[in-house]
Symmetry: C2
Subunit: 435 residues, 2 copies
Amino acid sequence: MAQRHRVVVVGGGFAGVDLCRKLKDAPCDITLIDRRNFHLFQPLLYQVATGGLSPGDIAAPLRTVVAKAKNVVTLLGEVEDVDVEKKQVILQDQAMVPYDTLVIATGVRHSYFGNDQWEKVAPGLKSLEDALEIRSRVLNAFEQAERAETREEREAWLRFVIVGGGPTGVELAGALGELASHTMKGEFRSIDSDDARIILIEGTGRILSMYKQHLSDHGVDALHDLGVAVLLNTKVTCIDADGVDVEGKEGKERIPAKTVLWAAGVTASPLAKLIAAKTGAKTDRPGRLIVEGDLTLPGHPEILVLGDLAHFAHTDDQQPLPGVATVAMQMGRHAAVVIERRIAQPDAAAGSGPLFHFFDKGTMAVIGRNEAVARIGFGLNLSFGGFFAWLAWLFIHIMYLVGFENRLLVLLQWANHYFTRHRGARLITGEGVGG
Amino acid sequence: MAQRHRVVVVGGGFAGVDLCRKLKDAPCDITLIDRRNFHLFQPLLYQVATGGLSPGDIAAPLRTVVAKAKNVVTLLGEVEDVDVEKKQVILQDQAMVPYDTLVIATGVRHSYFGNDQWEKVAPGLKSLEDALEIRSRVLNAFEQAERAETREEREAWLRFVIVGGGPTGVELAGALGELASHTMKGEFRSIDSDDARIILIEGTGRILSMYKQHLSDHGVDALHDLGVAVLLNTKVTCIDADGVDVEGKEGKERIPAKTVLWAAGVTASPLAKLIAAKTGAKTDRPGRLIVEGDLTLPGHPEILVLGDLAHFAHTDDQQPLPGVATVAMQMGRHAAVVIERRIAQPDAAAGSGPLFHFFDKGTMAVIGRNEAVARIGFGLNLSFGGFFAWLAWLFIHIMYLVGFENRLLVLLQWANHYFTRHRGARLITGEGVGG
């Protein structure tokens, strides 16, 4: 019997999972490798960070997610090296996994732009552990404020700085505003949780810059109503355990704050650098791999790069596609077509696979209860904010929790939050229990 | 204005929380101190350890749980010392909290009977972190088995030893059996999760010794049906990272197993020792404080000890009450009566408060889907096992998730497990991601 085509997929995010599912009836054997045993619904990570959802609500075992694809073997492991000549992936425990087609979809992490020492004092939000760390810090800050002995100390514990006015920063700020002004109201005795000051710092002149100007303005207003102050055109020059130094139009300033969260930048996962070195592929500034129109690497038709890690600029405006779930999912499904073609025509030239076209359905970001901004794609390019944007966001996010058996449960949990403003998962766990 | 009576409650478990709630209209100021910011529904901890429930499902913020008692101040902190003369509690950050009545309800931890080195290789199940650690180890074991290269290695990863045949050990073993033989079925490629061998080791001649013999036998049969082997009259003499040494009727034996869980013994929380030294109170073998009939310490009418930490033997058979939730809850409510009496009659003699009587409603332990053992109290002393015991267990546990806003959600989650046998919260988190 002839050897079946072997596909190795590194990374079980949206791209990797959708690829595996799409290939379930293809004549190939797939090995799906991930460091974690679960697939994460990243767009809702900020809900875990603010106690609205439990980790289990937005993560599902990878094995379960791809269980129906009987040609997929799931491996828990970390890739240490790739031998591009011999076509095999080497795992950290030295296990070798040979491939005919290699798919890299390991995503991005947050970047501190060379200030890695900030990571300790200003955690970012990319992994489930990040979210739990942020949750612990935020809840602990209120506990410490309750016990603070001086006004200064209390105010520093009640001040929350979020760096970065993209969707993650805005969603975090909005959810923190909800938490402080509504959920926790009346639970403390020596502080009023409503006294919390949430400050969103953005280096450019507007937040949510991928939306139209009027939506950015709408976002600032909506955040304001939740008690969030937005500082535009403001650069962060230093972060330490007691606050941040910023530089804006009105000069330098020190903002004392015990809690600083980072939502400002991303960098490619380390595997990108390795692949670039081995294949001669080019990377962009954040380190993403620049791919051909068929999602393969130049000169390497057997290596595909998908999702946030791919720099795909074969668009009308030559701009790379954004690192969002919908792009990753569509890339995953397209990669399945490319691989099926490869199996059928093993000798086709590099870059000659079917071209990827992103179908833009739109994008949205939630700001608070009843508040979101949305841009509807489908060629309409319709922008709006407010309650209906929020409803649309809710509907689409719940709908896309596909493969998450607890979709209905999450919906019910949200209905519960919505009417009671309770947030059930407000637990301070892990080492940082705090004095 | 006269100083109101000050009550300090250390420990936000069942006893502490029920006490605070019961005292909500009493003329006193209550300070509730806990190391954690949440109240834990401990009877369901094994469900978190086996991926059936998320931490947020069985834990609720302490502040929320006692929010209606406006006379309660909740403090996140750890008690370092108690000054019995000056009547004040000293926290780890040196903050002083003065009291007129002190309530100690800090519970128990697991004990390794002098073999503390076993803790690293055989975690117990008392805290939420314990449960997550066990969950990670169990799930990781299946992942490692899938990747094992020799048969020996694979079998060691697929062997799970649970030490201790009390309710915790039996519930863990049953849930692991469910997980292996049903939930995970079909998700692996090189192993069959059903091949997992679960071994429950009990030192005495029967499991679930607080039940009648026929229920212990029923338990062994039910475990057997789930693929769990029960070794009775077997002592563990050594535990290391690769297995356990046991000594039974048939001599010594080595059981190679990569996963060992400890459910064998408890010891009082360290605060008991401190209180005993300061007040001259006696402790029993596990270190619990021996209390008077009114739950106070001998000679100290101002100190009450409640819940698992109290050795209360003013019973018909002079046996101490078991460390279970119902005892703790009733003690909490009774302590409220004792404290109200103290406020009304500040000069009453030590030990002269109203006597505590435990009203025994019964007890139950679940073994698997549709399987439990139950003893109904209410003076009936009715014992039975099987489906109806399981239904009763389910009903009572859901009912008692009082204060947990997500009671209905947990019920739905269970309904979902029941019909699909899915376990949603199967995430390997934390440091131990494993290679």
